[in-house]
């Protein structure tokens, strides 16, 4: 099972991305979800624009609200 982390300090776009990530996780039959809201943690990923999406420890997107389909592609 893949691990999804959504990075963001609680802005509206971060919530939208988290919701899409959850939907994508359900669509592919489950994934481990985590919301990362601590600034130190976010910086450890080197992300400068939130929200960002991390799959299995790798930053796959920053600054965009990806659609459910786009996220699903990273989970296959």
């Amino acid at each position: 099972m893949k691990k999804i982390q959504v990075l963001g300090v609680g802005c509206a776009k971060c919530k939208a991305l988290a919701a899409n990530a959850e939907a994508a996780a359900r669509a592919v039959g489950g994934a481990q979800m985590e919301k990362v809201e601590s600034l130190q943690e976010i910086m450890r990923f080197g992300v400068m624009i939130t929200p960002a999406l991390v799959v299995d420890g790798k930053v796959v997107s920053a600054g965009k609200v990806l659609t459910v389909d786009e996220i699903s592609k990273f989970l296959e």
Partner: protein, 338 residues
């Protein structure tokens, strides 16, 4: 280069856009005179004509500019901007940072990660501030509205003075050598590599432009309509010089008051334009209104609270102080020369 098919579609769309744009005035005149039977000599007719002409004009401009800016932004990620700025000398770096602030995607909720990412990778503090001031202050929606409602001179003044304030404020903060007022944990922060460079093709960039239009125009159109409606009302009814006594150019103290009033107010650029329109229409001086608008957009208490995570209070105070003085100077300058 974009593939031929996309160029063709783009050229057709641009031609159609231009055809609409050039016929707007005639259409509004026809609607006002022939359909609604109003004379533009009368207050009601003048207001109706103003609204029916300006609304589609500003919306068309907005869609075109936001689309083009969305495509331009697909070329400038924060990572690339940081690369361009790292290790620059202060003044050249500041000029570049202020310019990049216009085209790099930015949202105020990302100000802190961006600040840390810049400072820890060797972008000088002053250069970082030039970027952080210019990015929210020079906004494409405000630019379109100012161009549409007040003409290209006011729009150019807005960009020119915004860049100047961002460059000078950053330069001063850099010269003051205030690095020790950055919170200690920022220096020690472990900063990872970030996302890999995405390879975008032209269809993807065009989609990003389209997404920007849906996102931004979808959010700001009520403010735009409100702004134009306020403008139409003023155009038809409110006497000129209503505000002249307290915000006119003879009242020098109105500039600092406008800047101070703007700090606790927080609004995006689109929300402030209706107020700008109302104030200018009633005889307030351009410099005073411009100072008020810049203060509302560039200096906000929520931003100070966010930045408190990475900056000691003294540095936040210097940042706000320098930018506020810069904006006041812009206000005085305009009131003196216009």
């Amino acid at each position: 280069m974009p593939p031929l098919r996309q160029v063709m579609v783009g050229a057709c769309a641009a031609a159609l856009w231009l055809a609409f744009y050039l016929h707007l005035e005639a259409a509004a005149r026809w609607l006002t005179h022939t359909v609604l039977r109003q004379s533009t000599e009368q207050p009601l007719g003048a207001a109706v004509f103003f609204f029916t002409y300006e609304t589609p004009k500003v919306l068309l401009l907005l869609v075109a500019v936001v689309f083009v800016v969305g495509i331009i932004r697909s070329f400038f990620t924060p990572e690339r901007t940081r690369q361009l700025l790292a290790g620059r000398r202060e003044l050249t770096g500041g000029v570049l940072a202020a310019l990049l602030g216009i085209v790099t995607p930015f949202c105020s909720c990302s100000a802190v990660p961006l600040f840390i990412g810049f400072v820890t990778s060797g972008v000088p503090l002053g250069v970082t501030f030039s970027f952080l001031i210019s990015a929210p202050m020079i906004n494409e929606v405000a630019l379109v509205l100012l161009f549409g409602l007040f003409g290209w001179k006011v729009a150019a003044l807005y960009v020119g003075t915004g860049l100047t304030v961002a460059i000078l404020a950053g330069w001063i903060i850099g010269k003051l050598r205030l690095e020790y007022w950055i919170e200690d944990w920022v220096r020690a922060a472990q900063v990872g590599a970030g996302a890999d460079e995405e390879h975008l093709d032209w269809p993807a960039r065009l989609r990003m432009g389209g997404a920007a239009v849906r996102d931004i125009v979808g959010k700001v159109w009520p403010y735009v309509l409100l702004g134009i409606a306020v403008g139409a009302g003023i155009h038809g009814y409110v006497p000129e010089n209503f505000m002249a006594a307290i915000m006119g150019r003879d009242a020098w103290w109105s500039v600092p008051v406008a800047v101070l009033l703007g700090v606790p107010m927080y609004s995006n650029a689109a929300g402030i334009i209706p107020i700008v329109q109302a104030l200018l229409g009633k005889g307030a001086a351009l410099g005073t209104v411009l100072a008020f608008m810049m203060s509302v957009i560039a200096l906000s208490l929520p931003e100070a609270i966010i930045l408190r995570k990475v900056l000691k209070p003294q540095l936040i105070a210097v940042f706000f102080g320098v930018v506020a003085v810069g904006i006041m100077l812009v206000g005085f300058l305009f009131n003196a020369v216009m």
